[in-house]
Symmetry: C2
Subunit: 340 residues, 2 copies
Amino acid sequence: VLKTLADIGEFGLIRLIHKLIDQEGYKIPGVTLGIGDDCASFKPDKGFEVLVTCDCMVEGRHYLPEHITPFDLGRRAMVMNISDIGAMGGIPLYALVSLGLKKDTPVKYIEEMYRGFMRELNPLGAAVVGGNITGSDYSTFINITLTGKVESARMMRRSGARAGDAILVTGYPGQAAAGLKSLINNRCGSDISKDPLAAAYTLPVHRAREGRAVALSGAATAMIDISDGLMGDLGHICEESRVGAEIVRNKLPISEHMRNLVNPQGWDIFEMIIGDSDDYELIITCAPDNTEKVRAAIGEITDVPVTEIGSITSQDGIKIISPDGVRHPVRPAGWDHFKR
Amino acid sequence: VLKTLADIGEFGLIRLIHKLIDQEGYKIPGVTLGIGDDCASFKPDKGFEVLVTCDCMVEGRHYLPEHITPFDLGRRAMVMNISDIGAMGGIPLYALVSLGLKKDTPVKYIEEMYRGFMRELNPLGAAVVGGNITGSDYSTFINITLTGKVESARMMRRSGARAGDAILVTGYPGQAAAGLKSLINNRCGSDISKDPLAAAYTLPVHRAREGRAVALSGAATAMIDISDGLMGDLGHICEESRVGAEIVRNKLPISEHMRNLVNPQGWDIFEMIIGDSDDYELIITCAPDNTEKVRAAIGEITDVPVTEIGSITSQDGIKIISPDGVRHPVRPAGWDHFKR
């Protein structure tokens, strides 16, 4: 019989997690107090600012338990947060994991989730140093707070974009949206977890190393990771920088997988690329002369494609230029948790 | 008609919160990036370590919406976290608030909750610098991550208690348990929110300033705040310090309110004092010679009573010495979210 949280209790679970992290987690030198006290503590590194971000996943809203293993769920939740630190040009360090759990959850499920956290943190030299556990009657939720560090002069804000800047994007935005649609519409129940688009949704890749390289290059003016869709997050840059943007529709990167999408439903691939999609790719703005420098910085880390898709304008709003040269205004909608 | 989150949407809510914090929140100098980017950031203070803690309140589990105003709910959620920083001897600084909200929640409710956060943070020179908002279909939840700072040499751990140390406690543990019972059993529906015991549960007072004073005095060996009950949290000190404890039953502090509790149900007041109770008072251990120094440090801040209730032993386990001199072992149960 599979042991559940009701069998081992809250404190049994905390002990188990503590042991698991001691055994399999990265031993991070700056931590002066880890799990087992009122707070965790760490010595900040000289010359760096402290970054702090949090993100929450709620069962049924941000993930469908039937479509994701607990290991991948842990990875995905951590990737979301690592991505935020990376989008600032920072280095991830210490995570606090706050869980709301149903008492019939198997202990094994939680262990696998923590292994997923560590799978993402260990290669970066980062670690879970604390958290909180509570019961939740209806939906599991996973709130992660991740701290990191970045030098003041290297911090990449959303607010630095200037009119005339080029707009670059890594990878293929929209793949996660296509993957989510495929998963939801997979009514025959076949195993599509290995499908590249489904995987783009279930197990996205963060660009923290690439983001760090861009920050160190000094070539970019603003950066953000895509969690509200390409237009949604470009909209955040425009809002914080008080600028607008023009995107050339024909320049939007479309992956082979997207082109080959078996699409009997007639989904609009263009809508997927510009709409809500949790891709965790980076949008980067830079002076037009610096695009090669940005590309080179990213090229040192991975061979993810970097595509120039348009430019920042002094005029408000985002417009998409269609092949016939007409400028179409778009509403940078982004995922809204209450409007739907 | 009262506007709800469904009316203004996630981004409307974020804008509103941002504005509210700008207008009514403490302007904290160390913050280099607040709400409106992928992360918040701050410059750590030289000579200090960074403390980080998180705590989560789930509707129906940690609070009953019919018994607490949103303003008090915000205060209480923040007090829980401030208390953890204080129990380390630290100074609270930056909060991230992660909310899971039902879409029919009135906007006014959230505003009042943030006013509650600020009511607790502003006097301490601390501030909300970021967070996350998501939808939650069944229960509201409030996860707060609070950072703080403390000098390495002043940090008060759970693990420093030594055999022979005196055990001190501030205030009157058990009042929150009595208040919760009163609220739940108040079937006639009369307004007992002004009842001092109900208030001890609904709106506990943190001892962060007192904890800081104790840390600066250098007189204590271990400290913890009471969120799992007097015995539960004393048990945490014993576990982390690898010691035991003896408590003298007749020395346990009982408030006037507890003595005068109208108690037709025949509740066991002693059980309330040692059992599960969210009092956010401090348990402090120190060398017997230092008790006056600890009292003096706290006395500089408030006139909260400080009671010596027993001593740390080299032998494992916690025992309560009854008036006849018999030692009764107790199980440091503490609140367990899955066992019930």
